[in-house]
Symmetry: C2
Subunit: 161 residues, 2 copies
DNA sequence: TATTGTTATACTCTATAACTATA
DNA sequence: TATAGTTATAGAGTATAACAATA
């Protein structure tokens, strides 16, 4: 029986350290924090992306996401454009500058990860690892308790005072 | 060739969501934030633990760690005791209350993780996953660029102005 | 009424850096 | 000189909550 707490600790420590090296390198070489890179990548990967979608993706509140989008827009990397289908929201799009910096940063990230992962595990093992992480992520994303898109709902009315 | 950027994204998203559910449950059932749980667990797992050791473990600065230790001490969960071998530092120890809450929280964490991991992947796959994460973590921890224990060092003197 | 987003406010946490004490 | 830790200061980022607009 695997010690899942130890597994979780390894997961957290690894994530922290990978995040730190990638963030430092992206800032140094592209003036792009890793968080912004993730936002750009998500927007580029979809037909349409709203603040709400971004919030759900990274599991932070809509308010926090709105401010992060402000920063990206101020940096000239994305644009809010009118959403013809729903006038409450905007659609987020990369500007040419945003597309350019994403294109430049992408191989940097892949190369850095190759150093940290590709040099430690053989290709087959990496493939299995990717599959496991993907399955676990999917499982975690189907459950509402794991996000922060909405304020914590009150306790179940039936059981609360 | 596995897309390592996608793998990294899955790793980050999974970590965030697992962290959120665990943190919420520990706070609700034991009034113990996950960060504090990790600190207690690290201290309990070692013969001796100093602020410096904790900082290196979680990859934050010594200053930030010192303040986190203040909070744990104020909560009555750990104690700083004199270090006979080096009077610059203290040794960190769990109080009886700290040991008790750690003992109570540990099965909660394991059970919650069982729900999220054990119910998705078969035992053998979990074992492989644990091995891979452990190896990658070890690799990441042997490199200095991944921690934040010290302020960023200046650029290499030979190449800086 | 519910959803989507923005904004003001407050708060938590962290880094940075100056400092003390000891090695 | 280098190491271990503390503390003041400042800043980044987040949640919360009130609000507006639209569905």
């Amino acid at each position: 029986m695997t010690d899942l707490t130890a597994l979780f600790t390894d997961l957290v420590r690894l994530e922290t350290r990978l995040y730190n090296v990638l963030d430092a390198r992206l800032k140094a070489e592209h003036d792009l924090p890793l968080g912004q890179f993730e936002f750009l990548r998500f927007i580029a990967s979809r037909d349409t992306a709203r603040v709400f979608d971004l919030a759900r993706e990274v599991a932070i509140t809509v308010g926090a996401t709105s401010k992060a989008v402000d920063r990206l827009e101020a940096a000239g990397r994305i644009q809010r454009i009118a959403n013809p289908d729903d006038r409450r929201s905007s659609l987020l799009e990369l500007t040419p500058a945003g597309a350019e910096i994403l294109a430049a940063a992408t191989p940097t990230v892949e190369a850095e990860l190759r150093t940290w992962i590709g040099s430690v595990l053989p290709a087959g093992v990496i493939e299995h690892l990717a599959t496991s992480l993907s399955m676990l992520r999917q499982r975690a994303e189907t459950d509402h308790r794991t996000d922060r898109t909405e304020p914590k709902t009150a306790t179940d009315p039936k059981t609360s005072s």
